[in-house]
Protein backbone atom coordinates (compact mmCIF):
# COMPACT_ATOMS: atom_id res chain seq x y z
CA UNK A 1 0.00 0.00 0.00
CA UNK A 2 2.73 2.43 1.01
CA UNK A 3 4.88 1.64 -2.05
CA UNK A 4 1.96 2.21 -4.40
CA UNK A 5 0.84 5.40 -2.68
CA UNK A 6 4.38 6.84 -2.60
CA UNK A 7 4.98 5.74 -6.21
CA UNK A 8 8.26 3.97 -5.43
CA UNK A 9 9.47 3.59 -9.00
CA UNK A 10 12.73 1.87 -8.06
CA UNK A 11 10.93 -1.02 -6.41
CA UNK A 12 10.50 -4.28 -8.32
CA UNK A 13 9.05 -7.38 -6.72
CA UNK A 14 9.18 -10.85 -8.23
CA UNK A 15 6.43 -13.04 -6.84
CA UNK A 16 7.13 -16.78 -7.04
CA UNK A 17 3.60 -17.86 -7.81
CA UNK A 18 3.89 -21.59 -7.07
CA UNK A 19 0.79 -22.14 -4.89
CA UNK A 20 2.96 -23.81 -2.26
CA UNK A 21 3.20 -23.44 1.51
CA UNK A 22 4.46 -25.73 4.29
CA UNK A 23 1.22 -27.48 5.24
CA UNK A 24 0.00 -27.94 1.66
CA UNK A 25 -1.07 -26.06 -1.45
CA UNK A 26 -2.13 -22.46 -0.78
CA UNK A 27 -5.64 -23.09 -2.11
CA UNK A 28 -6.17 -25.50 0.82
CA UNK A 29 -4.54 -23.37 3.56
CA UNK A 30 -4.66 -19.65 2.79
CA UNK A 31 -4.87 -18.50 -0.79
CA UNK A 32 -3.67 -15.00 -1.65
CA UNK A 33 -5.68 -14.94 -4.88
CA UNK A 34 -6.58 -12.89 -6.77
CA UNK A 35 -3.08 -11.48 -6.26
CA UNK A 36 -2.93 -9.50 -9.53
CA UNK A 37 -6.17 -7.64 -8.85
CA UNK A 38 -5.22 -7.00 -5.21
CA UNK A 39 -1.86 -5.47 -6.07
CA UNK A 40 -3.31 -3.45 -8.94
CA UNK A 41 -5.83 -1.94 -6.53
CA UNK A 42 -2.99 -0.62 -4.33
CA UNK A 43 -1.32 0.96 -7.39
CA UNK A 44 1.28 -1.61 -8.37
CA UNK A 45 1.86 -2.30 -12.05
CA UNK A 46 1.55 -6.04 -12.53
CA UNK A 47 2.79 -8.38 -15.25
CA UNK A 48 2.21 -12.12 -15.28
CA UNK A 49 4.85 -14.39 -16.83
CA UNK A 50 5.97 -18.01 -17.10
CA UNK A 51 8.62 -18.13 -14.37
CA UNK A 52 10.46 -20.96 -16.13
CA UNK A 53 11.02 -18.96 -19.32
CA UNK A 54 14.26 -16.96 -19.09
CA UNK A 55 13.34 -14.76 -22.08
CA UNK A 56 10.09 -13.76 -20.40
CA UNK A 57 11.91 -13.07 -17.10
CA UNK A 58 14.44 -10.73 -18.76
CA UNK A 59 11.72 -9.04 -20.76
CA UNK A 60 9.63 -8.46 -17.63
CA UNK A 61 12.64 -7.08 -15.72
CA UNK A 62 13.32 -4.57 -18.51
CA UNK A 63 9.66 -3.56 -18.43
CA UNK A 64 9.79 -3.16 -14.63
CA UNK A 65 12.93 -1.02 -14.69
CA UNK A 66 11.49 1.21 -17.41
CA UNK A 67 8.13 1.58 -15.68
CA UNK A 68 8.16 4.96 -13.94
CA UNK A 69 4.66 5.39 -12.54
CA UNK A 70 5.16 3.35 -9.35
CA UNK A 71 6.33 -0.04 -8.07
CA UNK A 72 6.22 -3.06 -10.37
CA UNK A 73 5.24 -6.62 -9.57
CA UNK A 74 6.24 -9.57 -11.73
CA UNK A 75 4.02 -12.54 -11.03
CA UNK A 76 6.18 -15.50 -12.08
CA UNK A 77 4.04 -18.60 -12.46
CA UNK A 78 6.18 -21.59 -11.47
CA UNK A 79 5.83 -25.28 -10.68
CA UNK A 80 7.72 -26.45 -7.61
CA UNK A 81 10.33 -29.02 -8.70
CA UNK A 82 9.62 -28.62 -12.42
CA UNK A 83 11.60 -31.13 -14.45
CA UNK A 84 12.14 -33.47 -11.51
CA UNK A 85 9.64 -36.34 -11.58
CA UNK A 86 9.82 -37.23 -7.88
CA UNK A 87 9.24 -33.65 -6.72
CA UNK A 88 6.40 -33.08 -9.12
CA UNK A 89 4.35 -35.98 -7.79
CA UNK A 90 4.63 -34.61 -4.25
CA UNK A 91 1.80 -32.23 -3.49
CA UNK A 92 4.10 -29.66 -1.95
CA UNK A 93 7.64 -29.13 -0.79
CA UNK A 94 8.18 -25.60 0.47
CA UNK A 95 10.15 -26.49 3.59
CA UNK A 96 11.75 -29.73 2.41
CA UNK A 97 15.02 -30.09 0.56
CA UNK A 98 15.95 -33.15 -1.51
CA UNK A 99 18.48 -35.53 0.07
CA UNK A 100 21.78 -36.33 -1.67
CA UNK A 101 20.46 -39.16 -3.87
CA UNK A 102 17.35 -37.19 -4.81
CA UNK A 103 19.49 -34.16 -5.64
CA UNK A 104 21.74 -36.24 -7.89
CA UNK A 105 18.71 -37.80 -9.58
CA UNK A 106 17.19 -34.35 -10.05
CA UNK A 107 20.36 -33.00 -11.65
CA UNK A 108 20.47 -36.00 -14.00
CA UNK A 109 16.85 -35.48 -15.05
CA UNK A 110 17.34 -31.75 -15.53
CA UNK A 111 20.47 -32.29 -17.63
CA UNK A 112 18.59 -34.79 -19.83
CA UNK A 113 15.81 -32.29 -20.33
CA UNK A 114 18.36 -29.66 -21.23
CA UNK A 115 20.00 -31.91 -23.86
CA UNK A 116 16.78 -33.11 -25.46
Amino acid sequence: MLAGFQKLTNLVCIYDYNHSQVDGPTYEILSVDPVIEKMAVVHWAVREIDGHDMAQILDALSWAVEYKDGPALIVAKTIKGKGFALWKIRRYGTAKAPNKEQAEQALKELMQEELS
Partner: protein, 172 residues
Protein backbone atom coordinates in the same frame (compact mmCIF):
# COMPACT_ATOMS: atom_id res chain seq x y z
CA UNK B 1 25.10 -45.83 29.58
CA UNK B 2 21.70 -44.35 29.05
CA UNK B 3 19.99 -46.35 26.32
CA UNK B 4 16.40 -45.47 27.08
CA UNK B 5 14.49 -44.58 23.92
CA UNK B 6 14.36 -40.89 23.13
CA UNK B 7 11.15 -39.11 22.30
CA UNK B 8 10.34 -35.65 21.07
CA UNK B 9 7.94 -33.61 23.20
CA UNK B 10 5.85 -32.69 20.19
CA UNK B 11 5.21 -36.38 19.41
CA UNK B 12 3.81 -36.85 22.93
CA UNK B 13 1.87 -33.60 22.47
CA UNK B 14 0.35 -34.74 19.17
CA UNK B 15 -0.70 -38.10 20.65
CA UNK B 16 -2.18 -36.46 23.76
CA UNK B 17 -4.23 -34.12 21.57
CA UNK B 18 -5.95 -37.10 19.94
CA UNK B 19 -7.16 -38.31 23.37
CA UNK B 20 -8.05 -34.83 24.56
CA UNK B 21 -10.04 -34.26 21.39
CA UNK B 22 -12.26 -37.20 22.42
CA UNK B 23 -12.66 -36.18 26.06
CA UNK B 24 -12.98 -32.43 25.39
CA UNK B 25 -15.51 -31.85 22.60
CA UNK B 26 -15.17 -28.07 23.12
CA UNK B 27 -11.44 -28.05 22.36
CA UNK B 28 -10.24 -26.51 19.09
CA UNK B 29 -6.70 -26.52 17.69
CA UNK B 30 -5.37 -23.64 15.58
CA UNK B 31 -2.29 -23.77 13.38
CA UNK B 32 -0.18 -21.42 11.30
CA UNK B 33 1.08 -23.55 8.41
CA UNK B 34 3.33 -25.89 10.43
CA UNK B 35 0.87 -28.57 11.58
CA UNK B 36 3.11 -31.36 10.27
CA UNK B 37 6.04 -30.10 12.33
CA UNK B 38 4.02 -29.70 15.54
CA UNK B 39 2.20 -33.03 15.12
CA UNK B 40 -1.11 -31.21 15.29
CA UNK B 41 -1.82 -32.62 11.81
CA UNK B 42 -3.04 -35.85 13.49
CA UNK B 43 -5.69 -33.88 15.35
CA UNK B 44 -6.57 -32.08 12.12
CA UNK B 45 -7.19 -35.40 10.35
CA UNK B 46 -9.26 -36.86 13.21
CA UNK B 47 -11.26 -33.73 14.07
CA UNK B 48 -11.23 -31.60 10.92
CA UNK B 49 -14.26 -29.61 12.10
CA UNK B 50 -12.29 -28.51 15.17
CA UNK B 51 -9.06 -27.56 13.43
CA UNK B 52 -8.37 -24.27 11.68
CA UNK B 53 -5.18 -23.62 9.72
CA UNK B 54 -4.64 -19.86 9.47
CA UNK B 55 -1.67 -20.11 7.10
CA UNK B 56 1.44 -18.02 7.74
CA UNK B 57 -0.53 -15.53 9.84
CA UNK B 58 0.27 -16.00 13.53
CA UNK B 59 -1.20 -12.70 14.62
CA UNK B 60 -4.46 -13.56 12.90
CA UNK B 61 -4.38 -16.94 14.63
CA UNK B 62 -4.02 -15.44 18.11
CA UNK B 63 -6.82 -12.93 17.46
CA UNK B 64 -8.95 -15.81 16.16
CA UNK B 65 -8.08 -17.86 19.25
CA UNK B 66 -9.22 -15.04 21.52
CA UNK B 67 -12.47 -14.72 19.58
CA UNK B 68 -13.18 -18.45 19.77
CA UNK B 69 -12.38 -18.46 23.50
CA UNK B 70 -15.12 -15.87 24.12
CA UNK B 71 -17.66 -18.46 22.92
CA UNK B 72 -16.61 -20.95 25.61
CA UNK B 73 -14.24 -23.05 23.54
CA UNK B 74 -10.84 -24.21 24.78
CA UNK B 75 -8.51 -22.89 22.09
CA UNK B 76 -4.97 -24.05 21.48
CA UNK B 77 -3.00 -21.75 19.19
CA UNK B 78 0.13 -23.56 18.03
CA UNK B 79 3.28 -22.28 16.33
CA UNK B 80 7.04 -21.79 16.79
CA UNK B 81 7.97 -19.67 19.80
CA UNK B 82 9.93 -17.20 17.75
CA UNK B 83 6.84 -16.20 15.78
CA UNK B 84 5.33 -14.79 18.99
CA UNK B 85 8.07 -12.17 19.17
CA UNK B 86 6.76 -9.55 16.76
CA UNK B 87 5.63 -6.60 18.85
CA UNK B 88 2.15 -6.49 17.36
CA UNK B 89 1.52 -10.15 18.06
CA UNK B 90 2.88 -9.75 21.57
CA UNK B 91 0.48 -6.85 22.08
CA UNK B 92 -2.40 -9.04 20.93
CA UNK B 93 -1.45 -11.78 23.36
CA UNK B 94 -1.27 -9.19 26.16
CA UNK B 95 -4.48 -7.34 25.34
CA UNK B 96 -6.73 -10.12 24.08
CA UNK B 97 -5.54 -13.12 26.06
CA UNK B 98 -3.73 -12.13 29.20
CA UNK B 99 -5.52 -8.94 30.28
CA UNK B 100 -8.93 -10.21 29.18
CA UNK B 101 -8.20 -13.51 30.98
CA UNK B 102 -9.45 -15.47 27.99
CA UNK B 103 -9.11 -19.22 27.92
CA UNK B 104 -6.44 -19.30 25.24
CA UNK B 105 -3.59 -21.80 25.36
CA UNK B 106 -0.61 -20.79 23.29
CA UNK B 107 1.49 -23.85 22.44
CA UNK B 108 5.01 -23.17 21.26
CA UNK B 109 7.98 -25.00 19.98
CA UNK B 110 11.35 -23.26 20.03
CA UNK B 111 13.84 -24.15 17.34
CA UNK B 112 17.40 -24.41 18.53
CA UNK B 113 20.31 -23.05 16.56
CA UNK B 114 21.66 -25.89 14.42
CA UNK B 115 24.40 -24.07 12.58
CA UNK B 116 23.84 -21.95 9.53
CA UNK B 117 22.29 -18.51 9.56
CA UNK B 118 18.88 -19.77 8.49
CA UNK B 119 18.13 -21.30 11.85
CA UNK B 120 18.82 -18.18 13.87
CA UNK B 121 15.56 -16.77 12.51
CA UNK B 122 13.68 -19.44 14.45
CA UNK B 123 15.62 -19.36 17.70
CA UNK B 124 13.59 -18.25 20.73
CA UNK B 125 15.51 -17.03 23.75
CA UNK B 126 13.35 -14.36 25.41
CA UNK B 127 9.82 -15.73 25.04
CA UNK B 128 9.47 -17.19 28.56
CA UNK B 129 10.58 -13.91 30.11
CA UNK B 130 8.14 -11.94 27.94
CA UNK B 131 5.21 -14.21 28.76
CA UNK B 132 5.98 -14.28 32.48
CA UNK B 133 5.71 -10.51 32.58
CA UNK B 134 2.11 -10.60 31.33
CA UNK B 135 -0.76 -10.38 33.81
CA UNK B 136 -2.80 -13.56 34.43
CA UNK B 137 -0.52 -15.59 32.16
CA UNK B 138 0.51 -19.04 33.35
CA UNK B 139 3.74 -20.33 31.82
CA UNK B 140 4.32 -24.08 31.61
CA UNK B 141 7.61 -25.52 30.32
CA UNK B 142 7.67 -29.33 30.32
CA UNK B 143 11.08 -30.96 30.66
CA UNK B 144 10.54 -33.97 28.40
CA UNK B 145 7.96 -36.00 26.47
CA UNK B 146 6.59 -37.69 29.63
CA UNK B 147 6.03 -34.31 31.29
CA UNK B 148 4.52 -32.94 28.07
CA UNK B 149 1.90 -35.71 27.93
CA UNK B 150 1.05 -35.31 31.63
CA UNK B 151 1.00 -31.51 31.68
CA UNK B 152 -0.98 -30.90 28.49
CA UNK B 153 -3.93 -32.69 30.13
CA UNK B 154 -3.82 -30.21 33.02
CA UNK B 155 -3.27 -27.34 30.62
CA UNK B 156 -6.55 -27.86 28.74
CA UNK B 157 -8.45 -28.08 32.06
CA UNK B 158 -6.81 -24.92 33.39
CA UNK B 159 -9.07 -21.89 33.06
CA UNK B 160 -7.30 -18.78 31.82
CA UNK B 161 -4.51 -17.78 29.44
CA UNK B 162 -1.53 -20.11 29.38
CA UNK B 163 1.76 -20.38 27.54
CA UNK B 164 2.92 -23.96 26.97
CA UNK B 165 6.47 -24.12 25.70
CA UNK B 166 7.98 -27.37 24.53
CA UNK B 167 11.59 -28.16 23.66
CA UNK B 168 12.72 -29.25 20.26
CA UNK B 169 15.12 -32.14 20.65
CA UNK B 170 14.24 -35.71 21.71
CA UNK B 171 14.99 -36.61 25.33
CA UNK B 172 15.36 -40.01 27.00
Amino acid sequence: MNDRPKMMQRVAFGDALLELGESHPNMVVLDADISSSLYTSQFARKFPERHINFGVAEQNMVIGAAGLATTGLITLACTYAYFCYPARLRADIAALCSMAKLNVKIVLLPWRHRGGLGWTTHQATEDVAIMRAMPNMTVVVPADAVATAALIRQVVDHIGPLYFRMGRNPHP
